[in-house]
């Protein structure tokens, strides 16, 4: 949509500099003026923020986007030669793995740390969250709200047989959700739940959040779980068909009475071998500033990670909720267990 | 089963290859097609087989139209077999599979039987399992022949099927093939470069040149009464000389010959082609003779003398056959007489 797609020039800015010279020599040359970002966030709206950062500080942002795990792998391999100054990833599990594999160094800047609520940063301050997204239950309003469905656990209820559509087990969002089950109920509990869900599947796991949301609206699927920013995005889309889909969707924030709705984060950490620490900290500081946090919210429809940042109206419109206060590091720690649970439950 | 070719013409792009060819072949008859390289023999066979489309004319088989302008039934619907000049064996199949390719309608036992029979005929029993790539040139050619003969088609077209087969085998093979063709009652056209083969193998001979048929006739006709110098030239190692009638003599660039029957009034001063075979000349030694013996070579049918005119500068030779008596000596002089057989005079076409 219009808000989420920045004007053309912004995204053209980043690749404008020649890519053929080595990143490392480039870093050397302009040591004072750059910050090298490895990012697994690939939203056009982020590019606008980097541009704004450069305008404000004169520090040039060199961007390398990729998948979280590969970026971590690359940093591990590069070790002390790594040009990376900060790493941004989109899932708590990945942040946890980054810590696990030692690519971060602790953030010591209290002014930054203080902005972030406790369970949205690493206990040892290896990273802080930038944004959060809730994973909510979605149904088709025309079919009426499913009665008694208030918990994730209820999705395993045989009452919803043939209703549920899910993504595959390669998808990190669901893995994190399951990981939270594993944290609370152990592998067996999680598996029992997963089996219940599997037996309620309307079709084998497939597609992505957006496509499943459309299936809900079309009536092919009765229930799913989806990230809030996808739902909000449909609502503000310029495309009329998208807005029609949005209008048909009903949202349930699960576990309001108990643990709170499952929330995931994207986060940023300082690279262990950063050579532009000042600039890197400046960038982190910038990205956690309340006004910029608001931009995240309006640009990509996410919830700000910083408590006093203003949430965008289309996100507020989804409703208010109590979030799970499980430390998101737990999600990473239990991710492998989540995969095993899904394998055993036959959730492909 | 009569194959009738009527006034066929054909061209590859702009290159005219056939210009009005007509020919009939009876059931069981073998007609040889003889002519210089590039004259259109292969093209003619390809037209009959349906591999080329004719530009005009018609082909009839047994009273039924086989092809004409705008009507070109595909090759597989024509009862026509073709031995390709370039063999065209199937490289992935072994010899037996190649031969049995055209026999798919027969039961397997019959097929095997026929294959064995043909392999014996072409002297390749025991080669069943070889791939064509592991055969010598002549062996490949024999397989190609056997493959085409296998289905005993009503019309059989053979494009130089013996070119790379040695004489002895060739003789056997052509007798055997002739028998097979006669048994099957096929109307056959045999392209060959070997006039002797044509004479021996065929009921009739057609002589082609430059996309046209010059003469069709029995071997005797063709040998004894050639209608064109080109025809006469083909047989018996003939040589062709330009000449002008001068009284009872023919003056040629390499010497003069007496004309056996003398010349008529109307021939006087005209230009002629003399086509003469070594056997159409006789030689006797004579110290005053107009010819000098330059060389003397063996052929299986006797000695051939090479002579040049004593009174010309030309080094061109004329070849004369002699018997097996005492040979003339190189350097001696002698007379040459034109005999009234195997020597032919053709009035030159006016330019």
């Amino acid at each position: 949509g219009g808000e989420s797609s920045p004007p053309a020039e912004t995204s053209a800015e980043a690749p404008a500099s020649s890519g053929s010279t080595s990143a490392a020599t480039e870093a050397k040359k302009q040591n004072a003026g750059v910050v090298n970002v490895y990012s697994a966030r690939h939203y056009d709206s982020d590019l606008a923020l980097y541009k704004q950062f450069t305008e404000e500080t004169g520090i040039k942002v060199n961007l390398l986007e990729g998948e979280s795990d590969q970026l971590i792998q690359r940093m591990v391999n590069e070790a002390e030669f790594s040009p990376a100054d900060v790493l941004i990833t989109v899932d708590a599990g990945r942040l946890w793995r980054g810590v696990d594999r030692g690519v971060f160094q602790p953030l010591e800047d209290q002014s930054i740390l203080n902005r972030i609520p406790e369970h949205f940063k690493n206990p040892d301050n290896y990273w802080v969250a930038l944004t959060k997204r809730a994973r909510v239950i979605v149904y088709n309003k025309e079919d009426g709200a499913p009665e008694g469905l208030t918990e994730y656990a209820d999705l395993a209820d045989p009452a919803y047989e043939g209703e549920i559509c899910m993504r595959t087990s390669t998808n990190i969002y669901n893995l994190s959700l399951i990981a939270s089950f594993v944290s609370r109920q152990g592998e067996e509990g999680a598996e029992e739940w997963a089996r219940g869900v599997v037996s309620n599947f309307a079709r084998s796991p497939q597609g992505n959040d957006i496509s499943i949301l459309k299936s809900i609206a079309a009536g092919e699927c009765g229930l799913t779980v989806a990230n809030t920013y996808y739902i909000a995005r449909l609502g503000v889309s310029e495309n009329e068909a998208d807005r029609e889909v949005y209008n048909k969707l009903g949202i349930i924030f699960p576990n309001q009475e108990t643990t709170g709705t499952h929330v995931n984060v994207s986060g940023i950490g300082l690279a262990k071998y950063t050579k532009n620490k000042e600039n890197a900290l400046a960038l982190i500081e910038f990205l956690t500033r309340p006004d910029i946090q608001h931009e995240f919210s309006s640009g990509n429809n996410e919830y700000p990670a910083v408590a006093d940042a203003e949430t965008a109206p289309q996100v507020i419109a989804l409703g208010d909720f109590v979030a799970d206060d499980l430390n998101v590091s737990e999600l990473g720690r239990n991710q492998a267990a989540a995969v095993r649970v899904l394998d055993r439950a036959g959730w492909n | 089963m009569t194959l009738i070719l009527e006034n066929l013409t054909h061209a590859y792009g702009q290159t005219k290859t056939l210009q009005g060819v007509s020919l009939n072949v009876e059931k069981g008859e073998v007609v040889s097609l003889l002519g210089p390289s590039g004259c259109g023999k292969t093209t003619l066979l390809r037209l009959v087989a349906g591999l080329e489309h004719l530009k005009s004319g018609r082909i009839e088989l047994d009273g039924q139209l086989l092809a004409t302008e705008g009507h070109h039934p595909p090759p597989e619907t024509r009862p026509v077999g073709l031995v390709f000049q370039e063999h065209a064996l199937f490289p992935g199949m072994n010899v037996a599979e190649n031969i049995m390719f055209g026999l798919k309608k027969l039961p397997a036992a019959k097929r095997q039987e026929r294959c064995r029979e043909l392999l014996n005929m072409v002297g390749l029993a025991g080669f069943e399992r070889r791939k064509p790539g592991a055969l010598s040139g002549g062996q490949q050619q024999r397989v190609a022949l056997a493959r085409a003969l296998a289905p005993a088609p009503s019309v059989m077209l053979l494009d130089e099927p013996y070119a790379s087969v040695d004489v002895m085998l060739k003789r056997e093979m052509r007798e055997a093939a002739r028998l097979l063709l006669k048994q099957a009652g096929s109307a056959s056209i045999l392209v060959t470069h070997d006039p002797e083969e044509a004479l021996e193998m065929s009921d009739r001979i057609a002589i082609m040149s430059d996309g046209r048929i010059l003469q069709v006739g029995t071997p005797e006709d063709i040998i004894e009464q050639p209608l064109a110098p080109e025809v006469a030239h083909l047989f018996g190692e003939a040589q062709m000389l330009d000449g002008e009638i001068d009284g009872d003599f023919l003056n040629t660039p390499i010497g003069r010959f007496r004309i056996p029957g003398g010349s008529s009034e109307s021939m006087k001063g005209k230009l002629y082609d003399l086509v003469v075979r070594p056997t159409g000349l006789s030689y006797h030694a004579d110290p005053d003779g107009e010819w000098i013996v330059r060389d003397l070579r063996y052929s299986s049918t006797g000695r051939i003398l090479y002579l040049t005119g004593a009174n010309t500068d030309s080094l061109s030779v004329v070849r004369v056959s002699t018997g097996f008596g005492a040979p003339p000596v190189v350097g001696e002089r002698g007379h040459i007489d034109l005999l009234d057989r195997h020597a032919f005079l053709f009035a030159k076409k006016s330019h």
Partner: protein, 559 residues
Amino acid sequence: MSVLNALPTRAESETPRPLRVEWHAIGIIALCIFLIIPILGILFGSMAPSEGSWDHLVSTVLWDYVLNTLGLLLIVAVLTSTMGTGAAWLVAVTDFPGRRIFEWLLVLPVAAPAYIIAYVYTDLLEFAGPVQTWIRDVTGWGASDYWFPPIRSLPGAGVMLALVLYPYVYLLARSSFLNQSRTRFAAARSLGASPLRAFWRVALPSAKAAILGGMALAMMETAADFGVADYFGVTTFSTGIYRAWYGLGDPVSSLRLAGLLLVIVAILLMIERAARNDSDAPAIARDSLSPPMKLGPVLSIGAMIGCAIPILFGFLIPVLRLIWLALEADGVRSVSQFVIFARNSFSLSIGTALIALLLALFLAYAQRSRTRADRLPVSVAATRLATLGYALPGTLLAVGLLLPLTSFDKILSSWVENQFGLGLGLILTGSVFALIYAYVIRFLTVAYNTVEPAVGAIPTSMDEAARTLGSRTWRIVSKVHFPGLRPALYSAALLVFIDTMRELPATLLLRPFNFETLATRVYRLASDERLAEASTAALALVVIGLIPVLLLNKVSKRH
């Protein structure tokens, strides 16, 4: 070994000789080692002790991986070979209205990445898509009142992949059919074989090496595909490898899966090699100029439909839909930003195509030469391994390459630092060099499989004739072979070019800072589930892929 078979003439006459140092062989093995680093890395890596996840995988999902992967490979093999071979034969050997146009239109689908096609088709055909919605609107049926083939399914994935992969078979088969002796085909027909039987018994066996080569490519790409399989929820080795590494966090299990996949692919390739047989074309097809077989009106219509189907589904529908989406998303506004992405994509692809082509030629010739000891089994095996890279999921290849590259970089960098006191940083990693290196490893297979049958089909008698006329290897290759190889070389360059254009995982991981290609651009948007916005970039990707397709058409016309 196929090449040996392809030259049935006199190869056996070689008297065995003692081994001696053959520079050729050493060169080949060195090159191959250079190329199989990531594969070796995987094979070694998979031997490390696993952390227990392996047993878990074996007891739960491994059989799904095996069955689904084999199923997918089977579907792709059947569909690509029938579509590719059938279409190639129609346009190469028969004549019907529009043949010339179809001849090059049929290549077009190769320009579209499979995952884009998959996105577009699901968008069109899924329950919520316009087609089913329309059906429901017209008929008034509800969700459960009718059956519609589920697009996101194993067969669906097979069809998607086959639609973009059949051109591999098509291109290779076509050039093989064009080079074949028509006389042989004519011989079969004059022996009473219908065109179909003649095709089956004579034309097809001669083209077998090419067709199988194309199928092998399609199948390897299928084995390596992640995008379609994941989106369609088909659990294959490729998705399993990804999950084992990133979900289970167990690289060892991931590498074991990859090793297993490679073994399966290698077995399939061995079957493929064994199935090839002699296909020595004579040098001169006498009637190569004579008109191709004219089809009657009924057959013509059949042929046109046959050729139109793959084009329609592999290209026309998806591209029109992309255009539709691009217009809807107002993508026209953002066209200008594609210039730089396109330039990056284009130059990388050209570079990769050229390098891969040269290496493929080198390897193909090494396999062909029969008088040298470079046909040592080692070098044959090395070549086989070196051309297996295509079956590796790109992610794994990238990771597999990252390790040796950075190690080398670090050594280099420390050395420079010690010697000159210069902080060099990492030169190779994160440079265009690393990218091209990765591409070449991956796409050499494509170039090799395309070039090798053509090289193998050159009759040895050509070499022999040239050599008795005093020519050495280089002159023989450039003067005698090149004219015949040209179509295959162009096809190989085209395929590598297009494959490079759309390569994603290695590009993502190994590229320098601020370096975007069209493929990464499409990925950014598509991975954010913004199909509409991605459509413009996807279109650009397809359009640039068309450039070499058009060029190919131009040069092959001259042929």
